[in-house]
């Protein structure tokens, strides 16, 4: 049942008191089946003509009870489920969960595993950002072209994922205390190849888009998010940084081996859709830098902490929160272990794209309805993560 957000005004063409023709507001439900809602997401928009007066996001169409299922199974059993949270970035989801569990259990991860994790996470960032830009351009009306280019590059990275972990999308690669399979020299060579080739693709991508007049006209000064609001609303990731919030967990928490790697955190200053587009391009360039350093420095050694048991893994009672900088923002896991310790008593995911949606209405109000889909595209949501 759709509940009306505003009272319908009578439709009249007679001039109002101050000589303006009064029109009726119109309520439009965009989604859950809509080509540019990035899944099953719905927006209830109230339109005055073409301008958005109010907008309420409606979600839950992909609420598949990840948290409750995780509370019923062993710690390890949830690992493949985290793949399905944000299904573009299974590697970073794995890492966030593994990191949270390692924090609770006090497991130390071998160096090589940390480097492998960095490599995989940065590849994921490349994959995610290029696809997001593709999808956003698709919403703008650039049917296909940028998305096809992005997916062409994505396939190269997925091939590496498959060679390493066995699956293209649902890698289930990280384990508590390390990673499941060691990287072979061949895999490392492939990763190096991707890292050297990707800048060329980025150049091409940028030539296609960055100065494109249509893109500029449609994205600049659209969906502006002020810095204070971004911080207050808990916005994280590229979206916050586009608004000038200098907050990157790779720098702040220095988890993994990010403390040893050199990279910049690009910041935007207006916080409009264009900034959010361009921040992602810049982040990809930084990711390539990180990749090259990690591939250069990766040490030999074990890929998993040997003392960690695969089965009957137990965690002492208590709680803890572990977070990483996923491609979409701060991905955190809040875990509570009880007396038995065999399975989580409470398992909560702090999904970045869910919280990034909080200010969707603030960004959209006042813009035309055609801009709404672009603004949504620039938020970068994946419904598996929004609804869990």
């Amino acid at each position: 049942m759709i509940q009306p957000l505003t009272d319908a005004k009578p439709y009249t063409l007679t001039p109002g008191s101050n000589g303006v023709i009064e029109t009726q507001t119109l309520e439009v439900s965009i989604g859950p089946q809509h080509p540019s809602t990035h899944g099953v997401f719905r927006m209830d928009c109230v339109l005055d003509g073409e301008s958005v007066v109010a907008l309420k996001p409606v979600m839950g169409y992909l609420h598949r009870n990840h948290e409750q299922l995780a509370e019923r199974m062993a710690w390890l059993g949830s690992m493949p489920y985290t793949d399905r949270l944000d299904y573009f970035n299974s590697m970073t989801n794995n890492w966030a969960y593994a990191l949270a569990v390692e924090k609770l259990a006090g497991i130390k991860v071998p160096d090589r595993a940390e480097y492998i994790r960095v490599i995989m996470a940065e590849l994921t960032r490349l994959l995610n950002h290029s696809c997001v830009i593709g999808f956003m351009l698709q919403d703008l009306g650039a049917w296909g072209t940028p998305l096809l280019y992005a997916f062409r590059e994505r396939e190269r990275i997925l091939d590496l994922y498959e060679a390493v972990s066995g699956s293209r999308m649902m890698c289930n690669y990280m384990r508590f205390g390390g990673v499941r399979v060691n990287l072979t020299d061949e895999n490392l060579a492939t990763a190096k190849d991707i890292a050297t080739r990707f800048p060329r693709f980025l150049d091409e991508f940028e030539k296609l888009l960055t100065n494109n007049e249509v893109l500029l006209a449609r994205t600049q000064r659209v969906g502006v998010l002020p810095k204070e609001l971004a911080i207050n609303a808990g916005i994280s990731g590229p979206m916050a940084r586009a608004s000038g919030v200098d907050y990157d967990l790779r720098k702040v928490d220095k988890y993994g081996v990010y403390g040893r790697l050199e990279f910049r955190v690009p910041l935007g200053d207006i916080g409009d859709v264009y900034d959010r587009y361009y921040i992602r391009v810049l982040e990809m360039r930084e990711s390539i830098k990180i990749l090259q350093q990690a591939l250069r420095d990766i040490p030999q050694g074990p890929h998993i902490a040997p003392e960690v048991k695969l089965r009957n893994f137990k965690i002492p009672p208590g709680d803890g929160y572990g977070r990483i900088e996923g491609p979409k923002g701060e991905l955190g896991f809040y875990l509570v272990s009880d007396e038995g310790g065999k399975q989580p008593y409470r398992y909560h995911v702090r999904p970045p794209s869910f919280i990034n949606l909080t200010i969707l209405e603030d960004m959209c109000v006042g813009h035309k309805v055609a801009d709404v889909v672009v603004i949504l595209g620039s938020v970068d949501i994946v419904l598996g993560e929004v609804d869990r």
């Binding site: 509940q3 609770l104 207050n232 609303a233 803890g320 929160y321």
Partner: protein
């Protein structure tokens, strides 16, 4: 950032009426939390947000945990806030507040007026756990449909009987299926009922 005892002291000075208690987390995680009473959680949160020593301007994670009553202690719903500071790059300060499990008494003050980040997360806690946040601007269900009446993440939630025949069921699943009368092949049902009679 200071030790948790110090933080507690500072907060207790700032909000003298508040009852604050330290709850320890898993030893390895080292994220002790402050348990604040319901009446003063808003004031304590406001203090942490505005005090120049902390400047907790970023509310990262809000969630609820359902503790069932046990032999030695009564149950409760615990709402957990993880606060970080973007300005000073520090954190977390973990605030916890407890409410009784009974649906009509399960109320806590909303922190959405302090942090917009809580808006959706508190709605989610309301939807899945039935915690009512006083002062929340728009407390509706967010994940389940509006007509839904239960709070499914509570530990005592019983899912509706919609068992469907799975070819690889386990004994307890089948047992439940027979009791619920789910969709299953007649042969399987007969067999199970026979086994039950035995």
């Amino acid at each position: 950032m200071e030790a948790i005892e110090k933080i507690k002291e500072i907060a207790a000075q700032a909000v003298p009426a508040a009852k604050i208690e330290i709850i320890n987390s898993t030893p390895a995680a080292q994220q002790p939390a402050l348990l604040v009473d319901r009446e003063h959680i808003y004031a304590v949160g406001k203090f942490f947000k505005e005090d120049p020593r902390f400047q907790m301007d970023f509310c990262s994670c809000v969630t609820a945990v359902d503790y069932l009553p046990k032999a030695d202690k009564s149950g409760c719903i615990e709402v957990v806030y993880h606060l970080y500071s973007v300005a000073q790059k520090q954190g977390p300060i973990v605030l916890k507040v407890r409410a009784p499990r009974e649906l009509d008494q399960c109320r806590v003050p909303s922190l959405t007026p302090l942090w917009r980040a809580c808006e959706f997360q508190e709605r989610e806690a309301y939807d899945l756990y039935g915690v009512k946040f006083d002062g929340h601007p728009d407390l509706r269900r967010i994940l389940m449909w509006d007509e839904f009446v239960d709070h499914p993440m509570r530990k005592d939630y019983v899912p509706p009987p919609d068992y469907e025949w799975e070819p690889t069921p386990h004994d307890d699943t089948l047992q439940r299926a027979v009791e619920e009368g789910g969709i299953m092949p007649p042969t399987a049902r007969e067999e199970l009922e026979k086994a039950k009679k035995k």
